[in-house]
Structures are given as structure tokens and as C-alpha cells.
């Protein structure tokens, strides 16, 4: 189902498609790392999952450290590379991480929207809105 949100103004100009229903079991950070079994978050109380040793805060640096812990390395762009899985970290203020997406193929990415649904989209269609823009791409070898 194609949808558009006021929060994602570019979703009216490039594909932005609902691929699941509302589900509070996992979030975008987990979904980007192909984990739909947990909610990853560096909340200060320690309620949600966040690996020990990774800075427990919402900074972009902490989120990069998380994905490095999961086997990713920073890369320059979101171009599709055969044999690699890529994720993109987003930010509104260039300090705090707001979102993460996972690359599916040459043209598509997938995201979990907070507590809500999964969507497939392009980098453009999800950028410039609620989550801001990509501040870092990372990649890891597929089929590790």
C-alpha cells in the first residue's frame, strides 16, 4: 500500500510503501540490523536492549558504535554494493540519532517507523522530514 505522511514530504515524490502493521516489539535501530525480536535503545534507565560497553546515550557517535559492534563499518555512501548490507543513520540536529534504515536492493530501503509500521522507501523519500537526513552510512558483509 502506497502512503504518504505529512512528516515525510518527499514520500509523495518517490516510493514510500507500508509493509507491515503497527508493532511495538522492535524499533528502527533493531530492524536496520535485521533483528525484529528486540527494541534497541540507550534509555538512561536501562529498560531496553543496548550492548554493554557501547555508550548509553542518543548521540550519533553511540549509534555508530552500536553498528560497529554489530559488524558494520562506516562507508561513504548508500550506493548498492553486491555482497554487502548497508544501514543509514539519520539525524535532525546532526548530534542526536533519530532513525536508522536498512538497504534492500539497488533502489529500496526498509524502515521501522517508531512504534508503528514498516515501510519500504528510497533514501530521498524518507529524508527531509521527521527524521532529518542521513548523517552516516555503514556496511557489513552479507551472509557473514
Amino acid at each position: 500500500m502506497a502512503i504518504s505522511f505529512q512528516q515525510f514530504p518527499n514520500s509523495q515524490r518517490e516510493p514510500f510503501t507500508k509493509t507491515s502493521d503497527f508493532d511495538t516489539s522492535y524499533n528502527c535501530i533493531a530492524w536496520a540490523a535485521e533483528d525484529s525480536s528486540r527494541w534497541y535503545e540507550p534509555d538512561p534507565v536501562g529498560i531496553f536492549f543496548w550492548p554493554v560497553g557501547i555508550p548509553r546515550n542518543y548521540s550519533i557517535k553511540a549509534y555508530i558504535a552500536l553498528y560497529q559492534y554489530l559488524g558494520y563499518e562506516c562507508c561513504d555512501d548508500g550506493e548498492f554494493e553486491a555482497g554487502y548490507e548497508k544501514v543509514a543513520i539519520f539525524s535532525v540536529d546532526n548530534v542526536t540519532a533519530s532513525h536508522a534504515s536498512r538497504q534492500l536492493n539497488v533502489s529500496s530501503w526498509t524502515s521501522k517507523l517508531g512504534k508503528d509500521m514498516d515501510v519500504s522507501h528510497s533514501i530521498f523519500s524518507i529524508s527531509g522530514g521527521y527524521y532529518g537526513n542521513v548523517v552516516q552510512f555503514l556496511k557489513r558483509q552479507a551472509n557473514r
Binding site: 511495538t24 536501562g46 529498560i47 542518543y58 517508531g114 508503528d116
Partner: protein, 139 residues
């Protein structure tokens, strides 16, 4: 605890009206809170108020993965302001709708019954809170 029965009448225009209103609420608290009918009416009003605030909070924060930020939303803070009386509502909503009330419950009860190995596993986290709720007569 805020009394939702009086919430719609909280903006008194004069000092005298403010005094009358406070006396009315004080009378309610002193003389009527042991009345079964009044208690039932209060619980129903609280339920209605909770559902409205929850709908507003979910609508405004549904895209947000940052739970801590979501807890700063005015509707969430209002729910917290109801204090201990709202705890059974939150636990039932966890059970029925898997809405994340974990931070609110910890704040209101002062405990975190979630086992360390369950962190992030929402179904297990809910089960831990339901167990605590049953043990403490909340549900």
C-alpha cells in the same frame, strides 16, 4: 493526585471562585471518596481521561524510536500526574495492546521488575510487569 472530576473546572476567574472550587474538591476528598458510587464514577472518568491522553500521546509519538523523548510529551506527563491510581490502567494496557508504559510504571512504582536478560524483549518485559502486577494486586 489530580482529580479528573474537577479538571474541567480548574480555571477559576476570581480568587473567591478559586476558593469555592478548592473547597469543593476538598469536600470531595474528605467526605465522598469512600462512597462506592463516587469511586466508581471516578474510575470511569479516569479511564476516559486516560484513553484520550493515550490516543493523543500515541498519535504524536508513534514515529519516534526514542522512548525517553516520548515520555516528555505533555499527554504522557499528564498521565504520570495521576499517580498510583493509574498503574492498573497502564499494566492492563501493556497486556492488551503492548503499549510501552515501562518508563511510566518504573517512575510511578519505584521498581523495575524486568529481568536483565529480558531487556528489549517486549513480550518478556510485559510478562515481568504482569507478574509484578498480579503479585501486588494491581490486576
Amino acid at each position: 493526585m489530580n482529580n479528573v472530576l474537577f479538571e474541567n473546572y480548574s480555571d477559576a476567574l476570581t480568587m473567591e471562585a478559586d476558593i469555592v472550587e478548592r473547597e469543593r474538591e476538598r469536600s470531595f476528598n474528605v467526605y465522598l471518596t469512600n462512597n462506592e458510587y463516587i469511586t466508581k464514577m471516578y474510575i470511569e472518568a479516569l479511564q476516559l481521561h486516560f484513553e484520550k491522553l493515550k490516543a493523543k500521546w500515541l498519535s504524536d509519538t508513534r514515529l519516534n524510536s526514542n522512548s525517553y523523548l516520548s515520555t516528555q510529551h505533555p499527554a504522557y506527563l499528564k498521565i504520570l500526574s495521576f499517580g498510583q491510581h493509574i498503574v492498573p490502567f497502564l499494566i492492563r494496557d501493556l497486556r492488551d495492546n503492548k503499549i510501552h508504559w515501562f518508563l511510566a510504571l518504573s517512575t510511578l512504582t519505584g521498581v523495575n521488575p524486568i529481568q536483565e536478560q529480558h531487556a528489549g524483549k517486549i513480550d518478556d518485559m510485559i510478562a515481568d510487569w504482569l507478574r509484578w502486577g498480579e503479585q501486588n494486586g494491581m490486576i
